[in-house]
């Protein structure tokens, strides 16, 4: 079977600084793939490069066998890839409803956007209650949920999440991970970058460890959780 995403030997970085020196990953349908590694290992850079925000210097990215190495970020959502960046991932001066509408930007018909929004509201009533509120005044957890829902608007096949648990309370992190598992069962594939490795490895089918911009290890989530070296280096003993 052909991989959803096939990333071969990517070199990428910012300006003169090269961050990734030949990273390769592949993602199969309906998988949750997790990428962990220490600070500065290039996890976020990898996601940005996959999504076209940074043009790779070398290497190739195939999505369902189609070459998207040179694609622009604007085209990605339309092809079925959503990316939820870490930090600023909502439009603070727009209302919750307008944020969701922006999430549906690649959708041509207003009617389709409304349908997508209705199903989001059904799934997350809290967003419906807050739909007229400026997104900037939401709590951290609500923001993350909104960012996630914005990515869902285009009914993506693949979602790239950059540290979805960053700065959130443990209870909310649990909820977000649970939601990821549910959506994954509905047929959405995930790539999740996390600093907080222990929790995410439990739900990941497979995981990669990056180090200094290179592949270090690859195993099932379970396998990495039990790997002595990973335990010592990334899971705090």
């Amino acid at each position: 079977m052909r991989s959803i995403l096939d990333v071969q030997n990517i070199y990428s970085g910012y300006g003169k600084i090269e961050v990734l020196h030949g990273v390769s990953i592949h993602v199969e349908k309906d998988e949750i793939v997790c990428i962990i590694g220490p600070n500065g290992s290039g996890k976020s850079t990898l996601l940005k490069t996959l999504f076209g925000l940074i043009q790779p210097r070398r290497g190739s990215i195939l999505f369902f066998g189609k070459d998207i190495t040179q694609a622009e970020p604007e085209e990605m959502a339309g092809m079925g890839i959503s990316y939820i960046p870490q930090g600023r991932n909502i439009f603070p001066s727009l209302t919750v409803k307008e944020n969701l509408e922006m999430g549906g930007s690649p959708i041509r018909h207003a009617k389709t956007i409304e349908q997508a929004m209705a199903s989001i509201f059904q799934r997350y009533p809290i967003l419906e209650n807050r739909r007229q509120i400026k997104a900037g005044s939401l709590s951290g957890g609500e923001r993350q949920l909104l960012a996630f829902a914005m990515g869902m608007m285009v009914q993506p096949k693949l979602m790239l999440l950059d540290e979805p648990s960053l700065g959130l309370a443990p209870k909310i992190i649990e909820e977000i991970y649970e939601e990821i598992t549910t959506i994954n069962r509905e047929g959405v594939t995930f790539i999740i970058v996390e600093q907080n490795a222990r929790k995410v490895l439990r739900l990941a089918h497979r995981a990669y460890v990056l180090e200094l911009g290179k592949n270090r290890l690859e195993d099932t989530g379970e396998g990495l959780l039990n790997n002595e070296e990973v335990k010592r280096l990334y899971l705090g003993g």
């Binding site: 990605m76 509408e101 930007s105 914005m150």
Partner: protein, 287 residues
């Protein structure tokens, strides 16, 4: 009493014009994150385009000439973006500032090259204004108020009811996130220039109808627009509208107290005050 009412009316009229300028300026700042010093020259060229179309050999009447004049202003605005600001999209603020300052000189001297530095008018004979309760208002001034109100209403509809307008607000919040969610940022930026150019052209034409044309008209009014923008919070459209009104009113009411010769100093004074009180608004990151 009549004098006070007349000053308030004059203040509102000036405020409408400043608001049109300031809203265009703040739109470009919000979406592209730089202060366009050449915005004043879009104002001035808008007025001169109308002059060109109304004078011989073309000689169109006003109601036929103003739409093509706005169209030319829009083309000029889009042209400056395409040839100057777009290649500098990744440049730092100082580069953009100097580029827009240079462009401002170029466009001002360009107008001077074609039409000379002297004061011109559209050649309408000066008519007595209508009088209500001792306050005089000309039909041009009525037009200023109507056009401004219509512009603000259309802008409201654009920004809060249309997808394109909402996208403009989204790009203004974060260009990178806009690209991530799949907003066509190039189209949105082009459209922002269209709106800013139309506002500048309309304001310039109204101003010239009420007063006169000269190549320096954009520069002095840009300063007023700056003051209005700072007062309302940079990048904030409704703040710019409010700021424009306040500057217009304060300026014209100030004339009651001090000599009209110092009118322009009032706007400068407000601007300096705003910069002292909120020094980060021009160069700092917007909230």
């Amino acid at each position: 009493m009549e004098y006070l009412l007349q000053s308030i009316l004059n203040g509102i009229l000036a405020g409408c014009i400043y608001a049109l300028f300031a809203m265009g300026l703040t739109l470009i700042y919000g979406v592209l994150n730089f202060v366009n010093f050449a915005h004043g020259e879009l104002i001035m060229w808008g007025a001169y385009f109308l002059y060109l179309l109304m004078e011989k050999p073309i000689g169109l009447p006003l109601f036929l000439a103003f739409i093509p004049a706005l169209l030319f202003t829009t083309i000029l605005g889009l042209g400056t973006d395409h040839f100057i600001f777009r290649p500098l999209r990744q440049a730092n603020r100082l580069t953009l500032l100097i580029a827009s300052l240079g462009l401002s000189f170029l466009l001002r001297n360009g107008a001077q090259f074609f039409w000379g530095a002297e004061i011109r008018t559209y050649g309408f004979e000066i008519r007595r204004g209508m009088r209500f309760w001792g306050v005089s208002i000309t039909s041009n001034q009525v037009a200023i108020i109507i056009v401004s109100v219509v512009c603000v209403a259309l802008l409201y509809l654009l920004f809060y009811k249309s997808r394109l307008g909402k996208s403009m607000r989204a790009v203004s919040d974060s260009l990178e996130l806009s690209r991530v969610v799949g907003i066509n940022s190039k189209k949105t930026i082009r459209f922002t220039w269209v709106i800013a150019s139309i506002l500048a052209g309309l304001g310039g034409i109204l101003l010239a109808l009420d007063t006169n044309l000269q190549p320096g008209m954009g520069l002095i009014n840009l300063v007023k627009a700056f003051a209005a923008t700072l007062l309302g919070g940079v990048g904030n459209l409704w703040g710019a509208l409010l700021g424009g009104m306040v500057i217009g009113l304060v300026e014209n009411l100030g004339v009651l107290v001090i000599s009209p010769g110092y009118k322009d100093a009032i706007a400068f004074g407000i601007m300096i005050l705003m910069l002292l009180l909120r020094p980060m608004v021009l160069l700092g990151s917007k909230e």
